[in-house]
């Protein structure tokens, strides 16, 4: 797993986040645990990767916003909720669970310092 001192891990190892919804649009924050994780997010977690993940569920567009003060990205993903609370037939109409789909499916290559001390990913 380690290469040049770098680790390849799910985004979940270096960032946390939460989903919000407005109509059929989801927003998912991706916030670095450590300063060393912020450049990893900026360089590797882009609109194309996020849209590719949610396109099978119907998403048509992903926009990435930056909140440098929080070391956070905010993805706004249109048509991600199959109609959302108004009309989705799915179980999770708000898309509340989607933040963990993103954190689990996107892989990143990062320095060890981007992962919090004591993280199960370092064991």
């Amino acid at each position: 797993m380690s290469q040049n001192g770098l680790l390849t891990l799910p985004l979940h190892a270096v960032a946390h986040g939460r989903t919000g919804d407005k109509g059929n649009t989801a927003n998912i924050s991706v916030i670095a645990y450590r300063d060393a994780g912020w450049p990893v997010l900026l360089e590797q977690v882009d609109e194309a990767r996020v849209l590719a993940l949610f396109a099978p569920m119907g998403a048509t567009r992903a926009t990435r916003y930056l909140a440098p003060g929080l070391k956070g990205l905010n993805f706004v993903i249109e048509d991600a909720l199959q109609g959302g609370v108004n009309s989705s037939l799915g179980l999770d109409r708000h898309g509340k669970t989607l933040s963990f789909l993103l954190l689990g499916e996107v892989m990143v290559t990062c320095p060890r310092a981007a992962v919090p001390e004591g993280s199960p990913y370092l064991k």
């Binding site: 059929n24 119907g58 440098p68 179980l91």
Partner: protein, 457 residues
């Protein structure tokens, strides 16, 4: 001594815990300065049901939870001088105010003054045709659908004005959630209408508080990765706000939960789109360069919020009828459970097709990636044995059609594959919401303040 305004929030959605105000008030007993207690209990579509209740009984239509939230805290809040600000008014804020006064009278609380803000209910002064003509931004068209409720998101200024009238409690209907905190701050600090950075800071204060424990460790725990001490005893938040708009987010002494830069950061971006342009009736807030700092255990300092001029239009939510939804589930467990659940789904599909059902239908297997699959076929590579749960969902124009779908899942008990158990069904009348943008001058002249109780009685 620097003036600090203390604002606690004891409910973050309709149905949030009813006992969260106790620890907030206990903590506030030891605090000097103006003190406020917020309850945010109004979801977008809640107003459709509330409006229906009001049509049936002119003294109903406020939050059905009003008594459960207010009864435990009214006497102590009045005794401590903690003023309550809430959207418990829902579709009938005046009736909510009268009911709150009755509760106070029943507890022998003297001299209670309630101020009620009205004017958010657009159906009171705009016709359905006028409502349908405004441009919509979310949720599609209104034309041809019955409007159940139409409410504008009011801002903080009426709340500030109500406090200036001496209210112990301010009750509103639809308003932007953040105004529940910004209103008290405008009143206490005399922030001018064009002090955009301050108004934005107060808006973000409200944004951080409005989901209750979501900023104090609720909805945050991820065991082993993001641990939260004593989550079962999570304390609801208190903001300590200074005149320059900077604030400390904390929680009542002796409660569980966690306030850290991470809990605050997650809540700042919650339900936000462009962090540099968060639009509310009172301003446009910019949190892109916000600064968070540890200010002691479970205390986070928040500063650096910037603001710009408020938008020209106000957002309104229109609730329209949207038919019925059927949902039904049945579990399969043990050897070959996945194949049995899959066959059960096939049976439901074929039965409904033979009965002439031609509407949308979602058949999925929980445990086989259903929540994240978008309703597709079960993924490959799943264990054939284990626990799987068939779920069927379909929209229907009427209740009868929805019941028919759920009945087909029920009939699997005898006529489906072997060993299905744990049937549950839900048939729900659906409400859709549409957001429209409406010029301020069509709404603001209709905003009214009503002072009831106290020495006005």
């Amino acid at each position: 001594m620097e003036k600090i305004v203390h604002i606690g929030c004891a409910a973050g959605f309709a149905g949030d815990r009813f006992d969260a105000s106790g620890p907030i008030l206990a903590d506030m007993a030891g605090r000097a300065g103006p003190k406020y207690l917020l309850f945010e209990t109004l979801a977008e579509r809640t107003l459709a049901a509330a409006q229906r209740l009001r049509e049936q009984d002119p003294e109903q239509g406020y939050s059905p939870y009003l008594e459960r939230y207010l009864r435990p805290c009214l006497a102590e809040a009045k005794r401590l001088g903690v003023r309550i600000v809430s959207n418990l008014g829902a579709a009938n804020p005046l009736a909510a105010g009268r009911r709150a006064l009755e509760l106070a009278a029943a507890q022998n609380i003297p001299n209670m003054t309630v101020c009620v803000v009205t004017g958010d209910d657009l159906t009171a002064y705009l016709s359905p045709e006028e409502l349908q003509a405004f441009p919509t931004v979310e949720g599609g068209a209104v034309a041809g659908r019955k409007i159940l409720a139409a409410n504008a998101y009011l801002g903080a200024r009426p709340i500030a004005a109500a406090l200036a009238m001496g209210a112990d409690m301010v009750l509103v209907g639809r308003g932007v959630d953040s105004a529940l905190a910004l209103g008290p701050l405008m009143y206490e600090f005399g922030w001018e209408a064009a002090a955009w950075d301050r108004l934005a800071a107060g808006t973000i204060c409200g944004h951080l508080l409005e989901c209750g424990s979501q900023v104090t460790g609720g909805y945050f725990a991820d065991p082993g990765f993001k641990d939260v001490p004593d989550l079962a005893g999570v304390g609801y938040p208190i903001a300590e706000v200074s005149a320059d708009g900077s604030m400390v987010i904390c929680k009542p002494a002796g409660t569980g939960g966690l306030v850290s830069r991470a809990t605050v950061a997650e809540q700042i971006l919650y339900e936000m789109h462009d962090p540099a342009r968060y639009l509310v009736p009172d301003c446009v807030a910019d949190v892109s360069e916000i600064r968070l700092g540890e200010a002691g255990p479970d205390r986070v300092r928040v500063e650096g919020v910037r603001g710009e001029a408020a938008p020209e239009t106000l957002k309104a939510t229109l609730c329209v009828e949207n038919g019925w939804l059927a949902e039904a589930e049945l579990s399969y467990a043990g050897p070959n459970a996945l194949a049995r659940a899959d066959l059960a789904g096939t049976v439901v599909r074929e039965r409904l097709a033979r009965l002439g059902w031609d509407g949308p239908l979602r058949v999925e297997i929980l445990g086989a990636g259903a929540v994240h699959s978008g309703g597709g076929a079960p993924s490959f590579g799943l264990a054939p044995d284990g626990e799987y749960r068939l779920r069927v969902a379909a929209p229907a124009p009427d209740r009868e059609g929805a019941e028919r779908v759920a009945d087909e899942v029920l009939s699997l008990y005898c006529a489906g594959p072997a060993g299905g158990g744990g049937y549950r069904r839900q048939v729900t009348q659906e409400v859709a919401t549409v957001s429209a943008l409406i010029p301020r001058d069509r709404i603001e002249p209709h905003i009214r303040l009503h002072r009831i109780g106290g020495d006005a009685r």
